[in-house]
């Protein structure tokens, strides 16, 4: 077997240029697969991370039957004594932060211009509010006792020509079905680089939000962030058992999860195309090799090499091509992902309803994806060598010996 590999290695060396370009074809195919997988991971991962950190959290604990699309403020749809409930949840070791939040709807106006908004009543000091605090680009973040300040997203500020310190009128639905209007000062302007979120959301301190909506000591939800996403189901299970409903991020973000599943299915189709192209290059190269070496195959057969061993010889060449090509591919793949991530891929304000996507896509290459696509490419390259190897093994020695050198 070692001798066959030695022969196969030397046979590949007979036409180094062809061998190099064949391995390069395999390598480029693999690198492309790695880049595609990492971009999908990056984009979907970014969307999921944005949804979790900005909007849904890992878990939400809320009143049974609460519908986030309706943002009901009726007391029976809200969580009573939310600070107490949040305190119990925060005591769990897997929990990074548990904080009450109030969601309401309204519109913000200045003179003749107005915009519909979602209002998040938050605890500004909770670690769960860090993404918003870190996103402040003008002015200051909120404080818990701020009675007339609000934080608006950059797109809203642009639309309404607002700057820090400006006065705005905020009209809000209340728990008894009325609308309350108050004047606020733009305390700060923020961006999370997620247009879909920034364009619709303003922040108030929780106490002020509760006061303006007349929902004292109630919250729409307890927003829970975990230290590790993998703990979601186990923590959700631990929190069940009260009259409150526990929702996980997969349940709250089913659109993203379904979109990710669909994206991976589409990507699988493209994988097949790329692998088919790679395979056809290898088949072509190896068939040419068999034709060029027909007489040599006849000689090997004449000195007593069985067809099976001749097939093994050619499969050994495919194996070596697969090894060389996949090593090259992994290196090219890593390099591609690295270069891609220097600046990322700017997609601007791509707003898909229900999915928060940042304005720049970065690739995220996982070890699992690297291993999967590498194995796929390796196996396909080997299989591609099967037909030419069978061709070689089936040549009749007397016919093969007649072939031109």
């Amino acid at each position: 077997m070692i001798q066959l590999f030695k022969m196969a290695f030397r046979d590949l060396g007979r036409n180094r240029r062809r061998t190099f370009f064949s391995a390069l074809a395999v390598g480029m195919g693999l690198a492309l697969l790695m880049l595609m997988a990492s971009v999908i991971n990056g984009e979907m991962g970014n969307a999921i991370e944005s949804a979790i950190t900005l909007q849904s959290g890992h878990i939400q604990v809320r009143a049974a039957g609460y519908d986030e699309n309706k943002s009901s403020l009726k007391w029976e749809d809200l969580v009573p004594n939310p600070e107490q409930v949040a305190g119990k949840i925060a005591a769990l070791s897997q929990v990074k932060a548990a904080t009450p939040r109030l969601f309401a709807s309204g519109f913000i106006s200045t003179g003749d211009e107005s915009a519909g908004v979602r209002i998040f009543g938050i605890d500004p000091q909770s670690p769960a509010s860090d993404p918003y605090r870190q996103g402040v680009i003008s002015g200051a973040f909120l404080t818990p006792d701020d009675r007339d300040g609000l934080l608006i997203g950059n797109p809203i500020a642009d639309k309404l020509h607002l700057k820090t310190g400006d006065q705005v009128s905020l009209s809000v639905n209340t728990s008894n079905g009325n609308v309350d209007e108050q004047t606020f000062t733009v305390r700060g302007i923020y961006t999370t680089n997620t247009y879909g979120f920034d364009n619709a959301t303003i922040f108030l301190p929780l106490a002020k939000a509760q006061a303006i909506t007349q929902t004292e000591n109630h919250a729409s939800t307890i927003f829970v962030l975990l230290k590790d996403t993998a703990d979601t189901n186990s923590v959700a299970k631990a929190l069940k058992g009260t009259n409150l409903e526990v929702k996980t991020w997969t349940q709250m973000n089913s659109l993203i999860v379904d979109t990710e599943t669909m994206a991976r299915s589409y990507i699988s189709f493209f994988y097949l195309i790329i692998l088919a192209i790679t395979a056809s290059v290898i088949i072509n190269t190896q068939i040419m090799s068999v034709y060029e070496r027909t007489r040599e195959i006849g000689i090997l057969s004449a000195i007593g090499m069985r067809g099976g061993r001749i097939m093994t010889l050619f499969l050994s060449e495919s194996f070596l091509l697969a090894v060389g090509g996949t090593i090259l591919g992994v290196l090219l793949g890593w390099l591609s992902v690295y270069l891609f991530n220097i600046k990322g891929f700017y997609i601007g304000n791509m707003g898909l309803s229900g999915i928060l996507i940042g304005n720049t896509i970065y690739a995220k290459l996982t070890m699992a994806d690297t291993i999967n696509v590498t194995i796929m490419t390796f196996v396909v390259t080997l299989l591609a060598g099967l037909y030419p190897a069978m061709m070689a093994s089936r040549l009749e020695p007397v016919e093969a010996l007649r072939a031109e050198k």
Binding site: Q3, M7, R10, D11, G13, R14, R295, E296, I299, L300, S301, A302, I303, G304, M305, R306, G307, G308, R309, E396, P397, V398, L401, K405
Partner: protein, 231 residues
């Protein structure tokens, strides 16, 4: 003892609608230790007969016995095994594997037969010495002359100690001096080892080395002179 026995062998080829009769009922017996030439013009069937004896091809009719075995009944793998263990080949185009050194080319049949590295090394060095190419052991075919390549081919043919060596026009691609050297080596090895040599040729300078001459014409044996004659 008969190393080769050919009984009423025929070989037809059909290309499209045209049928070519390469051999038309050949009977021939070759005894152990012979140095026999198959001669005849182009198209006489000598190469075809050599290929049938060498299990490279199968007859359309008749029987071929090699080293006591009916080779016409063998399947593809069995014929390969027969060639590996009992028959050595020398071709006019030298037929060495270009990526292997002289040592490795000679070693190849021994490798296929499962000999140990030590056994292979001993046998190969012995043969390199016999063909006076010890200093060329590590050279590849493109680093050797035609005569040297053919000597390596002779050594390779003898490596597994076959019962029979078949040579198809062994000097066709060699100049007179190299051709003479190759024939003398073959003759000497035939005398020293007792291996049977059968070679196809139309070169009169080569025919003179044979102890027996079998002449073919139009696919039939027309003359059979030398040590053994069979009607």
């Amino acid at each position: 003892m008969d190393v080769v026995k050919v009984e009423n062998v025929t070989r037809f080829y059909k290309i499209g609608e045209v049928e070519t009769k390469a051999l038309r009922g050949v009977d021939l017996t070759i005894e152990n230790g012979e140095f026999t030439a198959l001669v005849g013009p182009s198209g006489s069937g000598k190469t075809t007969l050599l290929q049938l004896i060498g299990c490279l091809d199968q007859p359309s009719g008749g029987t071929v016995w090699v080293d006591g075995q009916d080779v016409t009944r063998l399947n593809r793998n069995q014929r390969a095994d027969m060639r590996r263990g009992h028959i050595g080949f020398i071709f006019q185009f030298f037929a060495l594997i270009p990526t292997l050194t002289a040592f490795e080319n000679i070693e190849m049949p021994l490798l296929l037969n499962g000999h140990t590295p030590a056994e292979r090394r001993t046998r190969v060095l012995e043969l390199l010495e016999a063909v006076d190419l010890v200093d060329r052991a590590d050279n590849r075919p493109d680093q050797m002359s035609g005569g040297q390549q053919q000597r390596v081919a002779i050594a390779r043919a003898l490596a597994p100690k076959p019962a029979l060596v078949l040579a198809d026009e062994p000097t066709a691609n060699l100049d007179t001096a190299n051709g003479k050297q190759v024939m003398e080596i073959m003759q000497r090895l035939n005398q020293e080892t007792g291996v049977t040599f059968v070679f196809a040729t139309h070169d009169p300078r080569v025919i003179k080395y044979a102890r027996r001459v079998v002449t073919l014409r139009d696919g039939q044996v027309v003359e059979n002179t030398g040590a053994k004659q069979k009607v």
